[in-house]
Every structure is written in structure tokens, then in C-alpha cells.
């Protein structure tokens, strides 16, 4: 049962039944809605809108995405900056952004605003049974025109190789620890992938996996040619992919430059002739580089920087949306008082979320409870804002209730609760301010609660106690994974890869197990709804402060950015740059 075709064909039956699945439900919606996507979304024209048009889109989250007017100008060099060169070049074991996010491409991609799955390298799929998936690979995709590929076709054999490698099935052969395959959970339960013909891949799962399709749109699992293990993963200049840009220059800590791939499979893309990255480690210098026109885009700008830039470059465009990164305080359930749900719940009711998030980010952030509002099944900010604990209008009453709850747990006014919060004390991050505001709030609500703060100088020193769970509470930020069940599993499942607080509840574990194999959309959504309710009422394993705002500025002559802006922007990887273009104004 084919459910989607790149290029406009639509499914012939309800998309999700049989394979279906929660976020995959989005797949259906996406396919039905966009017919397999137009090339470049709406990027081909730059009419209408005008600068500064605010358009609530997608999930209803606030999104500022001005449409740049002007005539599209083909070619040109687009320059971005980053603080350091990529250091790891094997996309399936890399821990961070890497070259393949530019020269590679993914099986599927999310709509940046709705997270709906769009066909990409994989154009359609069939589900023979819950453990057998058959994918169609877009024919005619070419690997970059460089040795040893010289523009050969990227086929089902390459896709099969990638899926098995991502899943860690080659760990023994490559003498690499299985755990090094960081994104194996994105294709969890994969037992085998084989090419049936040059455009067909058959995937066999050991058991059903409702997250499989969402996993394939994770930006961190790009496809590479199957020869790469033989070529080696050390020299970026020897790497060729199927992405819109091909490596042209690579000098560590200086530049990472790419040229347009003339054989990219999306018609008329990319628009730029070259896509260059300058390495600028200092933030003030990066802002200066943007203002002086040396770079075309700058990310993560704060209000002060926006004001500075706007003053110097009035025509610069500001794009803003609620992001997939969420800030939190995570208690360790190994610390005595935090074992008691009443204590965890009292703190949840006592936190003034708006004061903390407004304090650092100002406007633009979104309320969040258990799940990112970007998931279709995730509660939206307006709903979360109306709940006890989060609702600013009922804060006084919630805090009174929190005090009673803590007294009932044997800690009147917080007496007897004495814990330390660890965090990264690095410049420009929210953690120090978040932590100080939390400490002050708890001091006013529970006067006898003792909280000490333990800052760490950098990420390297901080990550050790966090990873080992050697803390009583930790302040940090998480980037939502592309699927709500993967998120639930990694964050809260007993032994979950990011369950640093060692939370454990057999009912939650059972819920995760059930959701993983539940292939019916409605049933899966019901599980996730139940999870979100129990998260704030029965478990409280985490204090999610909110989803941070994302703010990106582009030069006034950059068009097409509006088609890639949105909560799932980061999951479009750098390949999204192929949809941007310069305009004559």
C-alpha cells in the first residue's frame, strides 16, 4: 500500500493504519497536504508578505517569518559563521554537527513548522506487515562528481547500507563499540535492510517500531555512499555525498567551504553557487561580521544584538519561533526527599516559570510540560499555561498548595530539604540565571529549604557529573528528538540514555513499551496523552521550564528563509540552505 509519492501523487488510503503512528500521523497529513512537497517549498518566488509580516503558522506557535520581496537572483556565495570546525566526520557515530549535514541528505525531512514528514530521498513506503517496511528510493539521485564516485547513482544498496550502519549492525565488523552508533535509536529494532532492486529497500524489524519514520528525519542520520567505510572518515576533502553542496575547501579553524552540486536531486536547487562557513569564535566579532556584511546570517541573537543590528542594518530580517530546545531542572530521584512525589510536586507548583523564562529570554518562549509543543501530540503552550503550577494567575494559590503538600511530606517550609544544583556557568547560557532565579523563588516559597549552586566552568567538566547522575538537581537544556516516544524513552524510561536523574517507574516503562509497538495513530496518541497527564500529576520526573525562543537574522537580500523557519528548523539540517537565495531589491 503505497502511501506517498514524491512529485505529487497522494496516498490511496488512510496513511497511518497499519504502520501508521503518532507522529507518523503527521506523515499522512504532510503527504496529503503537500503532495510530496514542491521543490523548495514556496522558495521559488519571493512575492508578497513584505518585511516584518508576522504570521502565526503551523502548530499555532508564534512564528515570525517575513517573506522577502524582490526578484530572485541565481548564484552568489552565502556565508555563515560557526565557532569551531567540525571535528568528527562519521555521521553515524558523530556526537555533534558534522560535514554530512551539508554534503549528505536524509531519508525523510520534517516540515519545519508542523513536523509533518515530507518525502525526500525516500519517496514512498509500504508496510507489508508491522515488521516489514519497503521503501522506494528516489531514482536518479547522484553522488557528487568526485572520485571514486564520479557522479554515480545513489541506489537502494546505499540506503540499505546506511540503515544497517546507523542501527549499529556493523559494529563488530568495524570493531566499533555498538554504543558509538549514537543514532541507533532512530532506527531501533532494525534487523536487516536489503536492496530488492536499485530503487527499493526492504527493512526487517525485530519488532514493530512506531518511531521508525520519525527517526529517519532526524538531522543526525544523513545518508552517505556505501564506499565510505573503505575511504575512511578522517579527511573531509575525500567525502562525497548526495546533498546540495559539495566540499571545496576545508581548513581547520579557518573555513569550511562548499560549492553547489550541479546534480542535486531537488530541481533548481541549490540557488547559491557556494555555501561557506567562516570560523569566528568570538560572539562580538560574529555580530560585527554580520553587520559589516561578511556573513549573511546570524543565529541565536539576543535582544541587545537585535537592537544593535537593526540600528546598523535596518533591512536585516528577523525570524523568530518557539524552538525545539527546552530548559529544565532535573531532580535526582536518588536524593531522599526527591523520592517523595509530594516533594517533587510541591516544587513543581512553587516554580514561577514565566519569571524564569522571561528573565533570560524575554518574549517569545513557549510553555511546555512533558513534551515539546512541536510534537503534534504535545500539549501546546496555551494549554500548559492554563494548568496548575504553570498558570501565572493561580500562582499564589498553587504556592499555598505547595506549602501544604511539603508540610504533609514532613518538610514544613522546606525544612530538611538541602540540595545542590549543578549547571554550566558559561557565558551567554541561560543556566546561571535560571538557577539563581529558581533558588530565589524556592527561598521565598519554602523559607527553610536550602539550595546551593555548583557551577562548572565548561561543558566538558559539567557533563561528567550529569552523565553519571552525580547530582541532586541539574539545570540544563535538551533538544527534542524527532519523535515523542523516542523522547519519552530516552528521558524517563528506566535506564533511558538521557535519564540522568535515574527516574524509574514501572508504569511509565510499560507505557513506553506499549507506545513503541503501537502502530495505530489514535491509540498511540492516547498513550501520549496519558503520559503527559501522568507526567505532571503522578510522576513529576522533571521541571520543564519552557521551550526557548529561536531568533535568526538574515541580510535583507536573502530570500526563502521563511520556508525553512519554524520549530523543526534544526531538523532540516544545513541542507535547508539549498532553499535560500539572494534577491535583487
Amino acid at each position: 500500500m503505497t502511501i506517498g509519492q514524491f512529485g505529487g501523487r497522494v496516498s490511496r488510503r488512510s496513511v497511518l493504519e497499519g504502520i501508521g503512528v503518532g507522529a507518523l500521523g503527521l506523515a499522512g497529513a504532510a503527504l496529503l497536504g503537500c503532495g510530496g512537497t514542491k521543490s523548495g517549498g514556496d522558495a521559488g518566488t519571493s512575492a508578497g508578505g513584505g518585511l516584518g509580516a508576522n504570521q502565526p503558522k503551523g502548530t499555532g506557535l508564534p512564528l515570525t517569518a517575513p517573506v522577502v520581496q524582490g526578484k530572485e537572483k541565481a548564484g552568489g556565495t552565502f556565508t555563515e559563521h560557526t565557532t569551531s570546525s567540525y571535528t568528527q566526520h562519521d555521521p553515524h557515530t558523530a556526537l555533534a554537527t558534522n560535514i554530512w549535514h551539508v554534503i549528505g541528505d536524509k531519508g525523510l525531512e520534517p516540515d519545519p513548522q508542523t513536523a509533518a514528514i515530507r518525502p525526500h530521498v525516500l519517496t514512498s513506503w509500504e508496510v507489508s506487515d508491522p515488521t516489514t517496511l519497503v521503501f522506494k528510493v528516489k531514482p536518479g539521485i547522484k553522488i557528487h562528481n568526485m572520485a571514486p564516485w564520479n557522479g554515480r547513482e545513489f541506489t537502494a544498496e546505499d540506503v540499505a547500507w546506511n540503515l544497517e550502519r546507523i542501527g549499529g549492525l556493523y559494529a563488530d565488523k568495524l570493531k566499533t563499540p555498538l554504543a558509538s552508533f549514537q543514532r541507533a535509536s532512530m532506527v531501533a529494532n532494525i534487523a536487516k535492510a536489503q536492496a530488492v532492486d536499485p530503487t527499493t529497500v526492504k527493512v526487517t524489524l525485530s519488532k514493530p517500531n512506531s518511531s521508525f519514520f520519525n527517526g529517519l528525519m532526524d538531522t543526525r542520520v544523513p545518508f552517505a555512499p556505501k564506499e565510505m567505510d573503505d575511504i575512511g572518515w578522517n579527511d573531509p576533502l575525500k567525502m562525497g555525498g548526495i546533498g546540495p553542496f559539495q566540499i571545496s575547501e576545508w581548513v581547520k579553524d579557518q573555513k569550511m567551504n562548499y560549492k553547489k552540486s550541479s546534480t542535486y536531486f531537488r530541481p533548481n536547487e541549490p540557488h547559491f553557487d557556494a555555501f561557506n562557513w567562516s570560523i569566528i569564535p568570538d560572539r562580538a566579532s560574529a555580530v560585527a561580521a554580520f553587520i559589516s556584511g561578511q556573513t549573511n546570517m546570524i543565529s541565536a541573537v539576543n535582544q541587545l544584538e537585535i537592537d544593535q543590528i537593526k540600528k546598523s542594518k535596518p533591512d536585516a530580517n528577523l525570524y523568530a519561533w518557539v524552538d525545539s530546545n527546552w530548559h529544565h531542572f532535573r531532580p535526582s530521584t536518588e536524593y531522599g526527599p526527591f523520592k517523595d512525589l509530594r516533594v517533587r510536586k510541591a516544587i513543581q507548583l512553587g516554580i514561577d516559570y514565566a519569571q524564569i523564562m522571561d528573565g533570560f529570554f524575554g518574549a517569545g518562549w513557549g510553555y511546555q510540560a512533558a513534551l515539546s509543543p512541536g510534537y503534534p501530540e504535545g500539549w501546546k503552550p496555551e494549554k500548559v499555561k492554563s494548568l496548575a503550577g504553570y498558570n501565572p494567575d493561580t500562582k499564589a494559590a498553587d504556592r499555598a498548595e505547595a506549602q501544604k503538600m511539603l508540610a504533609a511530606a514532613g518538610f514544613p517550609n522546606g525544612k530538611g530539604i538541602d540540595f545542590q544544583i549543578i549547571f554550566q556557568n558559561t557565558s551567554g547560557t541561560a543556566y546561571p540565571e535560571n538557577t539563581q532565579r529558581f533558588q530565589a523563588q524556592m527561598g521565598s516559597v519554602f523559607p527553610e529549604m536550602k539550595i546551593t549552586l555548583k557551577p562548572y566552568a565548561d561543558n566538558a567538566s559539567f557533563s561528567v557529573p550529569q552523565a553519571k547522575g552525580e547530582f541532586q538537581m541539574v539545570s540544563y537544556v535538551i533538544t527534542a528528538s524527532p519523535d515523542s516516544v523516542i523522547e519519552m524513552q530516552s528521558q524517563y524510561y528506566t535506564g533511558g540514555s538521557r535519564n540522568y536523574g535515574h527516574f524509574s517507574d514501572k508504569n511509565l516503562d510499560a507505557m513506553v513499551d506499549k507506545a513503541q509497538v503501537e502502530l495505530k495513530t489514535d491509540a498511540r496518541n492516547a498513550i501520549m496523552e496519558d503520559f503527559q497527564n501522568k507526567f505532571i500529576n503522578d510522576w513529576v520526573p522533571m521541571y520543564v521550564l519552557g521551550a526557548q525562543p529561536a531568533r535568526v537574522m538574515t541580510q535583507g537580500n536573502v530570500g526563502g528563509f521563511d520556508t525553512t523557519a519554524g520549530l523543526w528548523y534544526g531538523y532540516s539540517a544545513t541542507t535547508k540552505a539549498c532553499r535560500w537565495f539572494f534577491v535583487d531589491k
Binding site: 559563521h81 569551531s84 571535528t87 566526520h89 558523530a94 556526537l95 555533534a96 554537527t97 563499540p177 554504543a179 558509538s180 549514537q182 543526525r220 578522517n234 581548513v251 581547520k252 579553524d253 579557518q254 573555513k255 567562516s278 570560523i279 569566528i280 569564535p281 568570538d282 562580538a284 566579532s285 555580530v287 560585527a288 561580521a289 553587520i291 559589516s292 556584511g293 561578511q294 544593535q308 540600528k311 546598523s312 542594518k313 562548572y456 566552568a457 565548561d458 561543558n459 566538558a460 567538566s461 557533563s463 561528567v464 550529569q466 552523565a467 553519571k468 547522575g469 540544563y476 537544556v477 535538551i478 533538544t479 535506564g495 533511558g496 540514555s497 538521557r498 535519564n499 540522568y500 535515574h502
Partner: protein, 320 residues
Amino acid sequence: MAKYVLRRLIGMIPTWLIIMFMVVFMVRLIPGSIVDLLLQDQGGGGSYQAGIDRAQVEHRLGLDQPVYVQYVKYVAGVAQGNLGASLWDQQSVVSLIAQRVPVTAQVALVAIVTSVFVSIPIGVISAVRRDSPVDYLLRSISILGISVPGFAIGTAIVIFPTLWWGVTVSFKYVSFADDPIGHLKLIIPPAMVLGVQLSASVARLTRTMMLEVLQEDYIRTARAKGLQEPKIVVKHALKNALIPVVTVLGIQITNLLGGSVITETIFALPGLGRLMVSSIGSRDYPVVQGIVVMTAIFVMCMNLAVDVSYGYLDPRARPA
């Protein structure tokens, strides 16, 4: 002289071994480990189950051996010219350092040349015009140069032209061979930042030493002989006043390496300072060790060069 130099070189070996011992131990005392970074997730968190694989990763990186074993192996490697390889991308540390040294050296060289040509005349003029308005002005400038930190000057150079005129220094590195003018445009601003601070302290020292020398009997004698004042100042006074200045310059050159950490970050120059910062951040022990060891060797050699130069500047200081 050759024996003296040889003796000093042999004397450096124990110092060098102690430095290597300290650096090998100390980089491992920095909180946080490369293993945890390697096991870390993209979002920034470590793996909860990392303990399972830590041992394998440590073994692969050779970090599972006792530190003294790592030290002995390191010393043996260094003795053969092998500083190891980056734990992240397996690039040879020697080649990494070799790529970065020219940038740092060029910035330092321009800073020193600038400093010498600016600070020594300032110091001399200030001394000759002692307590005049010119002296006060030059001394005030010197104090300002010493007082304002390099990062503030650097940031000001980058930010203010941007805000006022919408232009700033280029952050796109080009080599001298590719574009000599463009390269100099990149090198000069950070060199000026380093040069300002170096000039300020050297100018003040030059002034002090010149004042002292100008009081000496042989200067009075020279004047009594009817020599022209410029000749007295330049030929007789300055040459003797420069002896401690050379010492300070020698020490300051090594300080420039420390200053390069900040200037190279602000001006996005791919030099040794940037390599050091990024390697500490990524806990790339061999690279950090390599830079420290090479810097230590450079500092020891600079000290030797300064000592040897005494002999030429002042025959009384020549070794017997």
C-alpha cells in the same frame, strides 16, 4: 661562548622533563574528560549508560594506562620528535602546531617590531624632555596602554567601526602567499593590540633607564668633549639603557604567546592561541601537551638568547 650555550642547553633537559611531567599530570586534573565528551550526545548530555563503553574508549585512546606510564611514553615520543596525535581527529600534533605557528609568529613579530619602533623613541623622548608637557603626555599614554586590557582594545577595534561606519576587520583568513595585502590587513589589528601593551611597558622602562644613564659620568664627559646631543643620546646613552630593555622584551615575547589566545579569538585568526583554547575545551590532551611543551622550549631558548645577547651588548657580562 659555545661551551656556555652547550652547558645551558644541557641544563634545560631537567627543566624540560619537569615541565612535561607537570603538563601530562595537570591536563588530566582538569575537571571533565575527553571520554565523556566523546560519549556525549549532540544535545549536550552524556550517556547514562556511558560506563559500559568508557573502558573501551579509554583503552582506544590509551587513557586506561596509569598516568606515569602515559608520561614515560610521552617523553619517549617527544624525544623522537613525536608529540602524538589529536584524540579527536588523529591529526599529528606536530603538524597541527606547525600549521598554526606562522600565524602566531607573524602577529608577535609585527607586535614586537611595532613596539620597538614606537616604544623606544617614546621612552627616549620622554627621558630627554623629562617633566615637560611632552613627557607627561607620553607617560599618560603609556599608563593607558598598560591599564587597558588587550581584550577590551581588541573588541573596541572590532565593534566601534562596525557600529559607526558598518565596516570592520575581515574575519576571513587568507595566507600571505594568496593575498599579501589582505593577509597584512588581518595581521596588523591583533598585532597592534599586542603591540600597544608591549610598547607601553617598554616605553616606561626605556625612559627610566635612559634617565639613569643620562646621569652617568661618561655622559657628562661626552658632553664636556663637545659631542652633539643626538649622538650622546643615541650612541652612548641608549646603547647602555637598552640592556634591561632587551631582557624585558625577551620576557614579553613569551607573554605575547599568552596574549595571542585572546587576540586570535577576537580576530578569528587560526594561530596557536586558538588551537590551545579549543584543545583545552575539547580536552585534547596530546595537543595541549604539545603546545605547552613547545612553548616551554621556546621560552627556555628565548631566555638563553637574552642571556647570550647580554654578552654582545655589555662585554662585562660575557661568560668567562
